[in-house]
């Protein structure tokens, strides 16, 4: 649901960086725990980008697996459902890895 307003921001930011040129491609980085659905962004993008410098641009989404950091051994590991346990037996805490949602680059011209 919240992809609508996020997609608007993506389009505005990309257009700003393009400085009047046409945006050909936007590369996003979206962590799997960012709560953002790539399909939903693409759907809204097609609609909102009409009549903007971003119309028809390709959207590439690089996904990032979420990681916890073990408080005992420091290793980064993927969380299993209903568990925070590290393979070493220690306990993991959340990190920002897998949470990110940013515009990596735009191709213009």
């Amino acid at each position: 649901m919240h992809e609508y307003s996020l997609t608007r921001n993506i389009i505005e930011t990309a257009a700003e960086y393009a400085g009047g040129a046409k945006v050909r491609k936007i590369t996003l980085v979206a962590g799997e725990a960012s709560g953002v659905s790539g399909e939903s962004v693409r759907l809204y993008f097609g609609i909102i980008a009409e009549n903007t410098p971003c119309a028809g641009a390709e959207i590439e989404i690089e996904s990032v697996r979420p990681m916890l950091r073990c408080k005992s051994c420091g290793t980064l590991f993927e969380r299993k459902p209903f568990s925070f346990e590290c393979p070493c037996g220690g306990e993991g805490e959340p990190t920002e890895i897998g949470r990110e949602f940013y515009i990596k680059s735009v191709e213009v011209g």
């Binding site: 649901m1 919240h2 609508y4 307003s5 996020l6 608007r8 921001n9 993506i10 505005e12 930011t13 990309a14 700003e16 960086y17 393009a18 040129a21 050909r24 491609k25 996003l28 725990a33 709560g35 953002v36 459902p81 209903f82 925070f84 306990e91 993991g92 805490e93 959340p94 949470r99 990110e100 949602f101 940013y102 515009i103 990596k104 680059s105 735009v106 191709e107 213009v108 011209g109």
Partner: protein, 257 residues
């Protein structure tokens, strides 16, 4: 805003130019949230973003808190539709303003700031997903002149998206009911991780339902080692005093008495 810094890579085979952006999609909202927060702090208004699933008892708990605070308070109610909550608060003499998002799943900084400050910025990006409801008219006289007190913003009932968007708050207060189930921290980790205080509501029902308190608290602690978890009942008022004390202390630290 400063003009974007352009880092231009070697053009690929076509004549397009690749520009590194590396900017969070939440960037703009966060900037507006910080501006609104600074305005509130300047007026000595302590702002609480109230999160929770639909039916967790956010409004009932809020009413209890406001009644127990003994300080001036203003409430912004966010809902997809209806002004039921704002009318309920106003009937109790609590100044309130309703925002209807018309479908959007969360409040964002521009819609809250505009509604509260009573200065809609026409054409401001990010507002299209929201509109102030009929009761939004009260904002012009109520919110704009409010100072020296507590501003509670009851977010849309949803454990997912509202946790992502800052709306000018000093703290996030999460209301989770025992009837929601003890697995919620595992299923919706972000809301639990970002909360500054968690109110476990409807504790008067604990003896009637299967709520695994240890499983719940264990999940909360893994995500959030510092937020107090206060057992409350919106119905009986149990535990509200403890929550109010925490809010007063925190407000004192941030905006003074």
């Amino acid at each position: 805003m400063p003009p974007p810094e352009r880092v231009i890579d070697t053009p690929e085979e076509s004549n397009t130019v690749k520009i590194d952006v590396m900017r969070s999609v939440y960037d703009k909202n966060e900037r507006l949230a910080a501006e609104f927060n600074a305005k509130l702090t300047g007026r000595r208004v302590f702002c609480v973003n109230v999160l929770g699933a639909p039916g967790a008892g956010k409004t009932t708990v809020l009413i209890r808190i406001v009644e127990a605070l003994g300080a001036s308070a203003f409430v912004i109610e966010g809902d997809i539709e209806s002004d039921i909550d704002a009318r309920k608060l106003k009937a109790l003499g609590i100044p309130a303003l309703q925002i209807n998002t018309g479908g959007a799943c969360h409040l964002d900084a521009p819609i809250v700031a505009d509604a509260f400050l009573g200065a809609p910025s026409a054409g401001e990006a990010g507002r299209a997903s929201g509109r102030a409801g009929d009761t939004g008219k009260v904002s012009a006289d109520a919110g704009r002149d409010f100072s020296g007190g507590f501003l509670f913003i009851e977010n849309i009932g949803n454990l997912v998206c509202p946790a992502e968007f800052m709306i000018g708050e000093h703290v996030k207060l999460l209301v989770c009911a025992v009837t929601d189930g003890s697995d919620k921290p595992y299923k919706y980790p972000l809301a639990f991780e970002k909360a500054d205080i968690i109110l476990l509501n409807k504790c008067d029902l604990l003896e009637y339902i299967d709520f695994d308190r240890d499983f719940f608290l264990n999940g909360v602690r893994k995500l959030n080692p510092s937020a107090p978890v206060v057992h409350v009942s919106g119905k009986t008022g149990a535990g509200i005093g403890e929550a109010v004390k925490w809010l007063r202390d925190r407000a004192q630290n941030i905006i003074g008495s």
